[in-house]
């Protein structure tokens, strides 16, 4: 059975830090914790400014904070890169096209498994 990652891990990182939703809201510059709750439940998508604030608070990349969403988007981008690659391969090869093909191949390559945090000692 394949289980995809959760779309975001904001709650996990917040609970790990021991902060309450209101405290995170204060750090993010929101009025109250209800916005944080909506971000965690995925009923509201944070603005770029808020996302960068989250990155600063928890010290992890946005890819880790939004693992599931990141994975989904990166798969879509890879698919598009493969399509573009196919189009370029049908064209006459010059130095510029070859350079583009090399770049697109790197995008389309399967991703290496990433470290999602410190492993437990148990």
């Amino acid at each position: 059975m394949f289980i995809s990652k959760l779309s975001n891990y904001l709650k996990m990182y917040r609970k790990r830090s021991g902060l309450t939703q209101s405290e995170v809201a204060f750090l993010l510059g929101c009025e109250n914790g209800s916005k944080v709750s909506r971000y965690e439940r995925q009923s509201r998508v944070p603005h770029l400014k808020t996302l960068l604030a989250y990155k600063t608070i928890f010290g992890v990349s946005l890819g880790h904070l939004y693992s599931g969403t990141y994975f989904k988007i990166s798969e879509e981008v890879k698919q598009r890169a493969r399509k573009l690659l196919d189009t370029l391969l049908g064209k006459p090869m010059d130095r510029r096209t070859l350079s583009k093909i090399g770049f697109l191949k790197r995008i389309a390559a399967p991703e290496m498994p990433s470290d999602d945090g410190p492993p437990t000692s148990i």
Partner: protein
């Protein structure tokens, strides 16, 4: 990757822990207390809420049906409710007895609830603030211990099964 939702039913509600393997990490944990209104209905509602929020791949609970289990009727009924929910959503359910949990943690020299909780708090530092102090013989069990019981059930599943093939997923 498996997402394991371990539930520890208590007379007041339940403790829960959500774990992911590969890499092994604790995603969420807590105690749900339902004291007002229709307790059983509220408990079921909160459980379904957790299921909808996290979309787990397996449920893990304590085997309350055993003769050696010291769980009350209400707690056993809730365990049955979890079993029915798992059936309805076609999710595997794995039960472990207290003895199996103790066996899993015996390697770490932990046999009592408090010792197991201490091992878990060492492994998952985020649980340290929730670790209750050692209780005296005249004191009741701290409600937070059900978080550790739930995590212990989840970890027993990880240690014993590792993969879902063995539970027929």
């Amino acid at each position: 990757m498996n997402r394991i939702l371990a539930i520890d039913p208590t007379p007041r509600g339940f403790g829960f822990a959500l774990l992911e393997d590969r890499p092994l990490r604790l995603i969420d944990w807590g105690v749900v207390e339902c004291r007002r209104g229709n307790k059983e209905e509220n408990r079921g509602k909160r459980l379904r809420g957790l299921f909808q929020e996290y979309d787990p791949s397996i449920f893990v609970i304590e085997d309350c049906g055993r003769k050696t289990s010291r769980r009350g009727h209400a707690t056993r009924r809730f365990a049955d409710e979890i079993r029915l929910l798992a059936q309805r959503v076609h999710l595997p359910l794995k039960k472990f007895s207290r003895e199996q949990v103790k066996q899993a943690f015996a390697l770490h020299g932990a046999t009592t609830k408090q010792q197991i909780a201490q091992v878990l708090a060492d492994g998952f530092p985020e649980l340290k603030p929730r670790l209750p102090t050692v209780r005296e013989i005249w004191q009741s069990e701290d409600y937070r211990i059900s978080i550790f019981d739930a995590v212990a059930l989840g970890m027993t599943f990880v240690a014993n099964e590792g993969s879902l093939e063995s539970v027929g997923a």
